[in-house]
């Protein structure tokens, strides 16, 4: 019982914010991944000469999302 109270007492506003941000970023990473997959699927459905640009943008967006998640986990 005392352990539970101890854990609850150790929860600070900052740790709550950290968990919220990490959870949000994990969900966002899934979204960014789906976005990348959708771009790939669309490029397959309609092949356009400049399709590689949007593919690069999609991959770049996903990499940025992963980097922000890693930064949030390590820095916070």
């Amino acid at each position: 019982m005392n352990e539970v109270i101890g854990i609850l007492e150790s929860i600070t506003a900052l740790s709550v914010i950290k968990v919220m941000m990490v959870v949000l970023l994990v969900v966002y990473n899934i979204f960014a991944f789906l976005m990348m997959r959708q771009i790939k699927a669309m490029n397959k459905a309609v092949e356009i000469g400049d399709g590689f640009v949007i593919r690069i943008l999609g991959v770049g967006h996903f990499i940025f999302a992963v980097l922000v998640l890693l930064v949030a986990i390590t820095v916070l």
């Binding site: 979204f31 309609v46 000469g49 400049d50 949007i54 940025f64 930064v71």
Partner: protein, 217 residues
């Protein structure tokens, strides 16, 4: 009494065949296949999944690039917002690392928003081939519809251009009524709608000509 005027016998002109080659010659080249083009005739670097081997893409269309202006302006505005975060006390009370991560998350969201909007424009494609019309509707990330109708099923073509913006930028909407499963195709806010409408009508003529000549695929 002498003859005042004698009409010269004119040889009837041979009607040019409206086959694909005929179309290439008869269709006025509109637009060009450049980077992020929104209008191009006979594009070389475009093909779609259900395209037949001998099917030729006559027209490739997207919405006029100017339709992207609102989200570009919004994105620029949003990108400048983190500079104002310092005004809000809850943000300033946070440690530096938290402030940095919040700013990064904000930039990430803005990037996602801009990419999503760009995708909607990029993948909303209208294709006219020598056999059919294809409408690729990319509504959002999780909803897309690809509709097709044969040229012979096209019943009516209407071109609507209204409003200051559409008149200024020479864009409009081309409505194509069909007897196919999808009763109406809407080529929304495309550049040079009058030319597009004319081209679709030329394709209908070509299809009818093919039917008469017994060259229906």
């Amino acid at each position: 009494m002498g003859e005042i005027y004698k009409r010269k016998e004119e040889k009837p002109k041979k009607k040019e065949s409206l086959s694909v080659e005929g179309l290439r010659r008869s269709i006025e080249k509109i637009g060009r296949e450049s980077f992020f083009t929104s209008l191009a005739t006979f594009p070389k670097r475009v093909c779609f999944g259900e395209q037949n081997d001998d099917e030729v893409i006559v027209l490739f269309l997207r919405q006029h690039p100017i339709v992207n202006l609102p989200w570009i302006v919004t994105t620029i505005f949003l990108l400048s917002l983190p500079a104002l975060f310092v005004i809000f006390p809850p943000y300033t009370m946070l440690p530096g690392a938290y402030q940095m991560v919040i700013s990064l998350i904000f930039y990430l969201f803005v990037m996602g928003l801009a990419l999503g909007k760009f995708m909607v424009w990029f993948f909303n494609i209208y294709i006219l081939t020598d056999e059919r019309i294809v409408d690729v509707d990319f509504v959002n990330l999780f909803y897309r519809v690809i509709s097709t109708a044969k040229i012979e099923d096209i019943q009516d073509v209407n071109v609507v251009s209204s409003g200051v913006m559409e008149t200024f930028f020479n864009m409009g909407t081309v409505f194509v009524q069909t007897a196919a499963e999808v009763p109406e195709f809407e080529f929304s806010r495309v550049p040079r709608p009058d030319k597009v409408g004319k081209l679709i009508n030329q394709m209908i003529d070509a299809e009818e000509q093919e039917k008469i000549e017994g060259r229906v695929k």
